[in-house]
Symmetry: C2
Subunit: 237 residues, 2 copies
């Protein structure tokens, strides 16, 4: 703990562009740190936490091993930093998704499918699936890692979804006797199936797989919960 530590300064800048050419130019304080985090993400996602040595990360980052230890203390600190850096934008993104879907609307099916696709993409898309797998696989040693990540698929997200379902029921667009249960069912249909198809995050889902999978889940969901009067149009494709 007593190690000197550079300022936390966790910028929300996750700009895709990396490898800025300026070797020493602009204020190198956080630069090394960012490079280590990015390299860690790459190499951890590919090889797993346990099977990746600190030195490997250092080399991948073009940095000495000692620098890694200077910044993150020990391997556990490095892993934690990498994971939380990756998981940070997720909750926010989930709110964004929910902000524009599952509301009162004209085409309920299209709306739910849109939500489902974006939710699945968020958790199992190309950017996140590998790291998600690693976290799942090795969370035994660090269970707290899954907390931040899981937030967007756990109780917090579920509560919000249940709220939306309840409101849709109140305005007559759905006929759901138990919103909480329905939210869990929806998660199972979307994320459960997505996780299986993606081998629990080991392979990224293709867009067409996401489409089919979400269409299937939303179909049974609306078949079960669309009001009797509503037509519940089957997918036109």
């Amino acid at each position: 703990m007593g190690r000197r530590r550079v300022a936390q300064a966790k910028g929300s800048d996750t700009s895709p562009t990396q490898l800025r050419a300026n070797v020493h130019a602009s204020h190198g304080v956080t630069e090394k740190r960012v490079r280590i985090l990015q390299a860690g993400m790459r190499v951890f996602a590919r090889n797993g936490f346990q099977r990746t040595s600190v030195e490997t990360v250092a080399i991948a980052a073009g940095v000495s091993k000692q620098t890694v230890y200077n910044h993150f203390g020990d391997k556990k600190g490095l892993i934690t930093a990498v994971v939380s850096t990756a998981a940070d934008p997720l909750a926010e993104e989930f709110d964004t998704i929910l902000g524009s879907t599952l509301a009162d609307c004209t085409d309920l099916r299209a709306n739910f499918e849109d939500f489902g696709r974006r939710w699945v993409r968020l958790l199992l898309g190309p950017d996140t699936s590998a790291l998600r797998w690693v976290m799942l696989a090795e969370s035994e040693s660090q269970p707290e890692l899954l907390a931040a990540w899981g937030e967007v698929s756990q109780e917090g997200a579920l509560r919000q979804i249940a709220g939306r379902i309840e409101r849709l029921t109140q305005i007559g667009q759905l006929d759901v006797p138990d919103a909480w249960r329905a939210a869990r069912q929806l998660r199972a249909l979307l994320l459960g199936e997505a996780e299986r198809v993606s081998a629990f995050g080991r392979v990224a889902l293709r867009e067409e797989e996401i489409h089919e999978l979400v269409a299937s889940g939303i179909d049974i969901f609306l078949r079960a919960y669309a009001p009797a009067g509503k037509t519940n149009p089957p997918h036109p494709q």
Copy 2:
């Protein structure tokens, strides 16, 4: 010419089981082997494959390390033997379950719930959840391990379930337009949710959790697919 030396366990030893040519008396030959397998199951399930040394297994089995190597060649062989020993009864058990459920019957809901509970119990009950977790977590190094195990939750089982659903549709007890898709939905509702609740096999499911989870899954399934005429009685509880 050396002594016995179970020579070159490396490459050529791809034979699944060395099938001890039981040169010896009936009892002693397999006894050590069985003890090693049982100990391996215990200790692997608790600590994982990678973090458990061969010597640990040997000690837990009350056997010398060399004996383990004599029987299984190397660590990979040991793991494979342990897993397949555990997974062996699963497929058979699934057939048993399916043999007595999802057939023509009077109470469809009770029948489906019975099937669901037994399926979930088979894959995530107290006996199997720990080992399942370990397999899932460490299948990166040995993907083939999941094959035998996954058989009861993968395509094979799914095909059988789809067959049952199709027949039930033909005799008018269900109204399912796409049996294959419905089978996948059923799996997501039952196993997907069960896996999440059990933290992907890390903790065994309690019987009441299984009950609630299966009741929920079957409820939406029948709500979606019960024929319009059928009453589809909600769970009396």
